[in-house]
């Protein structure tokens, strides 16, 4: 198959949340910094500075465990508004080079620079320029990977972090991939990894021994994907503006709560948090989901949706309060609640709504008043 080769750059900000905190509080420079919950909380680490990572601390590790490993670390609560602000600044740099920017999160994005606005033929040069501009404009470092597809570009970024640049040209892709552990491939987690190891597949090169059919038989659809990845193939295009399907917020309480004023207060805090997140994105939604995790870790969700127009906060609040009350009443043992989560789906963009507002669905009755 002869597909035109693309020039893809993957940019990943180094320890983004923690680096922003250090940027704003220079006294933290050189100290292990963790963004997430407090050490006494049951929260998890959102981001760890490279100094903290030396103690074996990783994202998603419980804060209590992080504290055990590094009691001298500085624990800070996340400030998402600030991270979003810098993320926007970084994205503006990307847009100077190409319109084809696909953000993965606040701190990561793919760029297709095959046809770029500067008409520069070298993607490596662009990647280098972007990294320099990010540093000079924000004071933060970023790592980048350059290759001919999204998969290889992202994998390349991870090879030389922090503040690094890795280029994987087409002729070197197989040599680059061969010695890597299969766990680096997208989609290979604990379960698939264990299945692969059981078949003697430890490195990407080991996948070459298997045909497409054999891998699909063992791993289903994922097998086909791995067959392509192992050969450096990924046909996904860089899609600008990845639409968020939902916006959510959840909180694990410091202690399990019964239905009452404390739970009501936590619910209200979550609504305030959800409101702030929505304000930043100027969005509203048509469906709302309440997630409740009980002390025994069982979880239920209750959803509310409406066909036309966005849900109001008042509607969502009433719904959540009603459902929590009825769950409490129907729970024979009066199970306490460990976690509450709120999420808003079927998001509506205001500009989209404005465009739609100009449409007017005609009715039978305003056209011909019925003679009954």
């Amino acid at each position: 198959m002869n597909l035109p080769l693309r020039k893809i750059i993957h940019v990943d900000m180094d320890a983004f949340f923690a680096s922003v905190e250090i940027l704003d509080q220079p006294s933290l420079q050189g100290r292990p910094v963790l963004v997430g919950g407090s050490p006494q909380s049951r929260g998890v680490v959102c981001a760890a500075s490279y100094e903290a990572r030396k103690f074996g601390i990783r994202s998603a590790m419980p804060c209590a465990e992080a504290y055990r490993r590094c009691p001298q670390a500085v624990f800070l609560p996340p400030r998402f508004e600030r991270y979003a602000e810098i993320s926007q600044q970084v994205r503006q740099i990307f847009y100077q080079y190409t319109d084809l920017v696909e953000p993965l999160s606040l701190d990561e994005a793919w760029l297709d620079v095959t046809q770029n606005l500067m008409e520069v033929p070298s993607a490596t040069w662009i990647a280098q320029r972007i990294r320099q501009e990010i540093l000079s404009q924000t004071g933060l470092t970023a790592s980048a990977g350059v290759s001919y597809n999204k998969f290889l570009a992202k994998l390349a970024t991870g090879q030389n972090k922090p503040d690094g640049l890795t280029v994987v040209p087409p002729q070197k892709a197989l040599d680059f991939l061969a010695p890597l552990p299969v766990g680096v491939l997208f989609g290979v987690g604990k379960v698939t990894g264990a299945k692969l190891v059981a078949q003697g597949i430890q490195r990407v090169r080991d996948l070459h021994r298997y045909s497409l059919a054999e891998l699909e038989n063992t791993l289903g659809k994922m097998g086909g994907q791995l067959y392509l990845y192992a050969r450096g193939l990924d046909f996904r295009e860089v899609t600008p503006r990845r639409e968020r399907k939902s916006i959510g917020i959840e909180s694990t309480f410091s202690q399990d709560l019964a239905h009452g004023p404390a739970l009501a207060e936590e619910l209200e805090n979550l609504f305030v948090g959800l409101y702030k997140r929505l304000q930043g994105k100027q969005q509203q939604g048509r469906s709302f989901t309440l997630k409740v995790k009980f002390s025994d870790f069982t979880q239920i969700t209750r959803a509310l949706s409406q066909r036309q127009g966005p849900l109001s906060f008042e509607q969502m609040r009433c719904f959540a309060q009603e459902k929590l009350a009825s769950l409490w009443q129907s729970s024979a043992e009066g199970r306490k609640i460990r976690l509450l989560g709120l999420s808003l789906g079927q998001l509506i963009h205001p500009s989209q709504e404005a465009a739609r507002a100009e449409n007017r669905q005609l009715q039978i009755f305003d056209f011909f008043p019925p003679a009954t």
Binding site: H349, N359, R360, Q361, L362, I364, A371, T372
Partner: protein, 373 residues
């Protein structure tokens, strides 16, 4: 009471009444069904007061009597039975014993006398119709029937005897109308019109799938009733006046365009997918020399355009329509034998008619969306 009934017969009966017996109700009796013995058959009854069912099913009667048992529970159990025959026995203490192959169960029933009395009587207006005709009428109009509580009179199918040999079925909400006319072989004496609640129509369809052949339909001011073989079913009517939509239905535009059905359906489905089935999404049909441009609004979640070739020689005109409404209307035409459908219109903000040569007695009207793009 002790009876033997074939498992598949029991399951068929339960499927007919499952949605009638409410699962969660403060009135225990109506979550149950009543089984009564009658010669070499059983009569099964269910009601939720809005709709009522009575059906006779073959069974071997070993001991006469009655039993009252939770409908949903019996259905869930019967689905798991393996052997072909089910023995149902009721004790004086209202226990219900079930036997299927090696499986024996004992369930608490309720006193059969606590079940509400059910009666079917001959209603004032009545006539006979082939079950297929009734089924077609429901299938072609159901999509347009309203669900908005503020327009109660549109929340049902309007059955109207328009002539002694002609019945009109109409479903409408505030934005669209579907009308089917059934011509009868012989004259009927029934007169007037009734509004059959939309939620009862699915039960009627289930009965029509089960019982083939002619159906006895009857109605009075409050009730619509059908008798299909040994099945009796009645529903309360919506007590309201159905609006007179004749002026819209007769305002069919002079411009007629014959459009390939498959291509159009495909194009509208693509736009619907683009908007993730958004119920408010709007499309634009632009009629040009020998073609129609099917186009979406340019919004943040994308845009799409398609071109369909068809004979058209009039002035260029664009008409905005709700994507879901068009798709639901087109789905009705899928079973029509013709490969094309007909559009009739007279302007971009005038009623938009969809028809087919295959069904001259059926038409659907969509009200357009006024657009500025």
């Amino acid at each position: 009471m002790k009876i033997r009934i074939q498992k598949n017969i029991l399951l068929e009966a339960l499927q007919l009444i499952l949605s009638i017996s409410p699962k969660a109700t403060s009135l225990q009796a109506i979550g149950n069904l009543l089984i009564e013995t009658d010669a070499n058959q059983v009569i099964i009854k269910a009601t939720n007061f809005e709709v009522t069912f009575l059906g006779s099913f073959p069974a071997i009667i070993e001991k006469e009597g009655k039993a009252c048992i939770q409908t949903a529970k019996l259905h869930n159990l019967a689905r798991n039975f393996i052997a072909s025959e089910v023995v149902i026995e009721a004790t004086k203490q209202n226990w219900v014993l079930l036997q299927n192959g090696n499986t024996s169960l004992k369930l608490p029933g309720i006193d059969p006398d606590a079940f509400p009395p059910i009666e079917f009587k001959q209603l004032e207006q009545n006539f006979v119709l082939p079950s297929e005709e009734l089924k077609l009428a429901i299938d072609r109009t159901l999509f347009a029937i309203g669900e908005n509580e503020s327009r109660k009179n549109l929340m049902g199918l309007n059955l109207e005897v328009i002539e002694p040999k002609s019945i009109r079925w109409m479903g409408a909400d505030a934005f669209r109308i579907a009308q089917a006319i059934t011509d009868l072989e012989s004259e009927i004496t029934a007169k007037g019109n009734i509004i059959i609640p939309k939620k009862s129509l699915n039960e009627v369809k289930r009965i029509l799938d089960y019982a083939q052949g002619p159906i006895q339909l009857s109605f009075d001011e409050n009730t619509f009733q059908i008798e299909a073989g040994k099945i009796y079913f009645k529903t309360r009517l919506i007590e309201a006046d159905y609006p007179n939509l004749e002026r819209i239905l007769t305002a069919m535009g002079a411009t007629e365009v014959e459009v390939p059905k498959g291509e159009l359906t495909r194009a509208v489905r693509i736009l619907n997918t683009l908007y993730d089935g958004d119920p408010n999404a709007v499309m634009k049909l632009t009629f040009m020399q020998d073609q129609i441009i099917v186009e979406s609004q340019k919004l943040e979640n994308g845009e799409g355009v398609d071109r369909i070739y068809c004979p058209y020689a009039g002035e260029e005109i664009s008409i905005g329509l709700n994507i879901q409404f068009v798709l639901e209307a087109l789905q009705v035409f899928e079973s029509a034998s013709e490969e094309t459908i007909l559009f009739n219109f007279s302007g971009s903000v005038q009623p938009f008619f969809i028809r087919t040569h295959a069904w001259p007695q059926f038409k659907t009207v969509l009200m357009p969306v006024k657009i500025k793009w």
